[in-house]
């Protein structure tokens, strides 16, 4: 049984055991507009919560994507490089990296869907 959490940097995480699948939410995807490139990390990279691990570029802007949890990147979704349209809030296909977490408690502190939805409403 997996849980899905959200951050106020507009990332989502699907937690399966000790691994977190990380992606970006519809709000973020909309804000970016037409995408031109995604800069992905290498498998094996160690990250600390808050590190930027990927960069997504549109024509006029580039945005870092931050990891909400510390750990090791064990899998990277290379398919996204050539299929930028798949980068969306889909917990099965839209994940960017899978992180083996050092400290599962970091994930527990994040927002659930209803809290995130309220957060987004507050922004608009």
């Amino acid at each position: 049984m997996s849980t899905v959490k959200y951050t106020n940097d507009h990332e989502w995480l699907k937690i399966e055991g000790d691994t977190a699948w990380v992606g970006i939410t519809t709000y973020a995807r909309h804000a970016l507009g037409d995408l031109v490139y995604l800069d992905l990390p290498e498998v094996g990279r160690k990250v600390v919560k808050g590190d930027d691990f990927a960069v997504v570029e549109s024509v006029k802007a580039a945005s870092e994507i931050y990891t909400p949890v510390s750990g090791e990147i064990v899998e990277v979704n290379d398919n996204l490089q050539n299929n930028l349209d798949d980068l969306k809030e889909d917990i099965n296909t839209g994940w960017i990296v899978k992180v083996k977490m050092d400290n599962e408690a970091e994930a527990a502190d994040l927002m659930d869907k209803s809290a995130y939805d309220s957060f987004v409403e507050g922004l608009e």
């Binding site: 031109v36 490139y37 800069d39 570029e57 549109s58 024509v59 006029k60 802007a61 580039a62």
Partner: protein, 432 residues
Amino acid sequence: MRYLPQTNAARKEMMDSIGVKNVDDLFIQVPKKAFIKGKTNLPDHQGELQIERKMLAYANQNINAQSNRFFLGAGVYYHHVPSSVDYIIQRSEFLTAYTPYQPEIAQGTLQYLFEFQTFIAQLTGQEVANASLYDGATAMAEAALMAMRVTRRNKICFGNDIHPQYCEVTETYLKNNDGNSYTVTEDPSKITDDTACVIIQSPDFYGKPHSYSDWRKACDEKGALLVVVINEIVSLGMLAPPTEADIVCGEAQSIGVAMSYGGPHLGFFACREKFIRQMPGRVCGETVDADGNRGFVLTLSTREQHIRREKATSNICTNQGLCALAFTVHMALLGENGFKQLAVLNHERACELADALIAIDGVSLKNQHFFNELALQLPQGKNAGDIVQQLADDYGIIAGYPADDRTILITATEITTDNGIKALANALQEVL
């Protein structure tokens, strides 16, 4: 004052529209102490005739390459630029245009940048090139920084005799972050897993052409990048292009751009396609417009600092626009055969110069192989700097660059004449 079109009547009308009595009312937020009071030490306005006379007087104090015997190179070269180049670059639409951020009304600039990038890629044997950088020295520094970004390492290796100023500039850029460092070694086996890149200059600072297979092997073993620096781009008309390199950069001033006491010059930067998103500087790309017709735009600008801010790949805002145009026009005039022939003429003059110089007692050439620059070794007891000064003072000859106490770098290009070579050889004979 000839550059100020506003009339007093118009000024008054405008102030009325704004609702102020005099122009100082518009400066009310400026603290009083910051206003200039009374006269400064600066003169008032002058007409063209007065200024021309004054500046001509300054210019006439300088020994220039056009009217005197000239053999100085060391990274900046005196070549002949065909007349058409200067007329093209002085066209208003090129000279007074801005950076092509509104591409619909800047297709002229964008198309020549595309042609420039193509020429650079073709000359260097690389896949892509940018729209130019400030000069060769900063191009090399940018190459080092890029290699560090790509490899995530922070050590640079200078692998042969590179122009000292280029090394200084690279060191200045490296110093800004602790943890960066550089080593100097000519031994490929000395590079390590911490090495981001090896930098090789060819021809090197003493004029010797190099090849790269040993360095390429060493870089492949250690995962480092190979950077080749070229500061006499005419050499690519005879020497093999550095296709083994990951980055080729340097100075393109030799084509189209005057020496102008050090600037503006023309840095160039080319690399493998897989690195384009890490390449610094402006880049022009081909696309289509709303009617499906071909057009050009600045692209990949998300790497630049006005968008990435703290995370920018470098802080270069500018390319050398008009200098890049001068290069492109000159290259277009030279073409395949002209460029190769230009290189051969340079080399032949250097061969003739070499023969004339080594006929002098006591001198020798440091390198038996060269393109157009010779490293002349003086006899014991003679100081290169003093000799160069003496040749300038007593003979009016700009003889070369004192690379160290006993070595003068002496260059020949297509402008070097038989009489010039004789004059230099005779003068040297006399002072030594």
